[in-house]
């Protein structure tokens, strides 16, 4: 009995001591990768500030990326107090909003990030998060292959012949910075051995077409450049449009003609990067986060915004950020940290540590030497960035899911375009009503 009492006492004491050394603001971050490194650096800088009380110091919590948003959803719905602030993404704000509270940002936030980027963390006009990382898409292309093509008249003639045969237009090769989506497809066909046996690469492009919502984000800059949107101003679903039909059919041509690997319907980010890095792919559209990996593997790589369409050039953008858990046990402390995170000092520290905040040009200019890529991504985001109408709604993730299922089914040949668009319209009507 005495031994039991002693053990209980020791356990209770150690629990108290452990609690005393634990920080009072717990932040659930995006695990692994540069986001974690950057958040660690920012939190360290914040905790070192003299005015931050011991009770308000920040401790970081990381789980695993696998099923992160599923676990977060369950935690938030259950009213978990395990964290005070948590990761947010543009496409999930509406879903998590019932379990979050809007936050005030610092006075300088508007100047640091700019309105476009701040909007990626808003839902129904309220600011639910401070933006930390911005994701958008780049066109990656092999400059050595393009240069060789442009310098060879016979190759140019072959290119035009292929474009005429498969696209019905006698297109001439162009600099990727001037590409329309039609040029992108023509280039992909020219550099595919299934169409052009003399191609130096096995495939002209790689489309990551696994039935996965993130892959739809990569794709939908394409229909957008033909004027697509999810809904019109009256809330009618407009996915069954000429714009979506054109983009889906053009992409399908790449599958049919073997210009993308035949099993790319099982590819996601990692597989698509592996394909490009192997040197067997000539060009691809991929997340900006892949820039270091892809240019590292293929040094002769150029980057630009995705190709243009009749309605202009667009890139999907979304932000990662941190928001306030409505069940937080230290709301004031969490708000203080989030407010500081929206200052220029924090944004620069975060960027220098490897993060990718979407910064307004004046702030990005201060990082021109350390992070020139942020100048480019900030510029593309503000010039070409878009969010579909309904892209931050409560069911935005489910809309992407529905599109992924139906569109990949079309590309895999398990259903026709009318069925795919009909099913997507029905699902979106239900989800966005």
């Amino acid at each position: 009995m005495k031994l039991t009492a002693k053990l209980l006492g020791v356990t209770a004491l150690s629990s108290l001591l452990t609690g005393a050394v634990h920080a009072e603001v717990t932040v659930l971050g995006w695990p692994g990768g540069p986001e974690e490194t950057a958040l660690r650096a920012a939190a360290e800088m914040y905790n070192a500030r003299a005015e931050v009380a011991d009770d308000d110091k920040v401790e970081l919590l990381f789980t695993s990326r696998d099923g992160f948003f599923d676990k977060l959803q369950v935690d938030l719905a259950a009213g978990s107090t395990a964290f005070d602030a948590n990761l947010l993404a543009t496409y999930s704000i509406g879903k998590y909003a019932p379990f979050l509270e809007p936050i005030p940002l610092s006075d300088e936030a508007g100047a640091v990030f700019g309105d476009t980027v701040l909007k990626t963390m808003q839902f129904e006009g309220a600011q639910y998060g401070v933006p930390t990382d911005l994701s958008l898409h780049f066109l990656y292309y092999r400059t050595d292959l393009i240069d060789a093509l442009m310098a060879d008249d016979a190759a140019k003639a072959k290119y035009t012949e292929i474009a005429q045969e498969h696209l019905g237009e006698a297109l001439a090769p162009k600099s990727p910075e001037d590409w329309s989506w039609l040029d992108f497809v023509a280039n992909a066909l020219y550099f595919s051995q299934s169409v052009n046996p003399d191609s130096p690469t096995r495939y002209g492009t790689v489309i990551q077409a696994k039935n996965l919502l993130f892959n739809m984000m990569v794709f939908h800059s394409w229909p957008r450049s033909y004027g697509a949107d999810w809904m019109d101003a009256d809330g009618n679903i407009t996915v069954d449009s000429e714009a979506y039909r054109t983009a889906l059919s053009m992409a399908n041509k790449l599958f049919e003609l073997g210009a993308t690997p035949p099993d790319s319907t099982s590819y996601e980010y990692a597989e698509a990067n592996a394909a490009y890095s192997s040197g067997q792919v000539a060009a691809m559209v991929q997340w900006n986060a892949a820039a270091n990996d892809l240019t590292g593997a293929q040094p002769d790589t150029g980057t630009f915004a995705p190709p243009s369409g009749p309605e202009g050039r667009f890139t999907h953008i979304h932000g990662l950020g941190l928001g306030l858990n409505a069940a937080a046990t230290n709301k004031d402390g969490a708000i203080a940290f989030l407010q500081w995170l929206s200052t220029e000092e924090a944004a620069i520290a975060y960027a220098k540590a490897g993060g990718a905040p979407g910064l307004a040009s004046a702030t990005a200019a201060k990082l021109a030497d350390d992070r020139p890529d942020l100048v480019q991504s900030g510029d593309y985001a503000s010039t070409y960035g878009f969010v579909m109408n309904g892209g931050t709604s409560a069911n935005a993730l489910s809309v992407y899911e529905a599109q992924a299922k139906e569109f990949t089914g079309f590309w895999a040949g398990t259903q026709d375009l009318d069925t795919a668009l009909g099913n997507t319209t029905a699902a979106m009507t239900e989800l966005l009503k």
Binding site: Q73, V74, A77, P98, D263, S278, K405, G409
Partner: protein, 288 residues
């Protein structure tokens, strides 16, 4: 005296019973509650009774039937392949294993790997640009099948499952084969029975109950497959590799339709219960 033992039994069994009730009973009650309610993540704590609406929604959902058909085909084909291969290996290798029992340890290695890890492993080794199998095929014959293309993906997941779980069937058959009294074989051999006839007329009939159990277990396991397929190819283009478990998972977490996913889970449970009951009845009938 009997009464005393009854009381003792009840007392001794109560911790286990309470534990099982807490572990199994709570989720079952919750699933039943949600299955008959309009529930989302926002209304987890205040589900509204909706009668059979979720069941109507599930049975009207063509993805549900697509998943059921996938699971049925997958479960049947893998069960048959695993049992056929397991039986052949057990009978063929039995003499070798009698002398070198360590062979069993090597053969059951695939079973030790977690199915999710197995899926990830195949995702790597079958990848055209990073995987060793396509690499060597390209090196040797200049081309490689696209293992995970829409045309081949079903075959690939069947083979992956079969390769992992054939050792399970093999173990069952080996145990059954080794438990056949040696005297029976010796008597048959003395009477001039040829090995092939010995197998079909004596050994195989004696192993039939094991075969029945093995097919049943492997079918149930194949029918509820989740992790290796999900980590390998997800739910597939157009939902082509969506099993029942994947359907339930995605309906619950991805689409937030908690009531509907619970209704699907209840239907899965009921159908498994019916299959189990029929199988037990057949087994009893066969053993009479």
């Amino acid at each position: 005296m009997v009464k005393k033992y009854k009381l003792e039994n009840a007392v001794l069994a109560s911790p286990t019973s309470l534990f099982l009730l807490a572990i199994l009973g709570f989720p079952v009650i919750l699933s039943l509650t949600y299955g008959f309610s309009e529930t989302s993540f926002e209304t987890l704590r205040s589900p509204e009774f909706s009668g059979l609406q979720n069941f109507r929604d599930v049975t009207a959902d063509k993805t549900f039937w697509q998943a059921a058909w996938f699971s049925l085909r997958f479960g049947t084909i893998t069960a048959v392949l695993e049992c056929a291969l397991g039986l052949a290996l057990a009978v063929y290798l039995a003499p070798l294993i009698q002398k070198h029992s360590w062979v069993v340890a090597i053969l059951i290695i695939p079973m030790i790997v977690a199915p999710a890890m197995m899926g990830l492993m195949y995702r790597l080794i079958l990848n055209e640009f990073a995987g060793p199998i396509p690499y060597y095929l390209y090196s040797w014959i200049g081309s490689s099948p696209a293992f995970l293309s829409p045309k081949n993906v079903f075959t690939t997941v069947i083979l992956a499952e079969t390769l992992q779980w054939t050792p399970f069937a093999f173990l069952l058959f080996l145990t059954a084969y080794q438990s056949i009294p040696q005297e029976i074989r010796e008597a048959a051999t003395v009477d001039g029975t040829r090995p092939w006839r010995l197998f079909w007329k004596i050994e195989f009939p004696l192993m039939l109950p094991t075969l029945f159990v093995a097919v049943f277990i492997r079918f149930i396991d194949g029918f509820r497959v989740f992790d290796n397929i999900y980590t390998l190819v997800g739910s597939g283009p157009g939902g082509s590799t969506t099993s029942m478990s994947i359907y339930i998972f995605e309906t619950f977490l991805r689409r937030g339709e908690i009531g509907k996913s619970m209704a699907a889970a209840i239907l899965l449970f009921v159908s498994a219960f019916v299959v189990l009951s029929v199988a037990q009845w057949l087994l009893r009938r066969a053993s009479r």
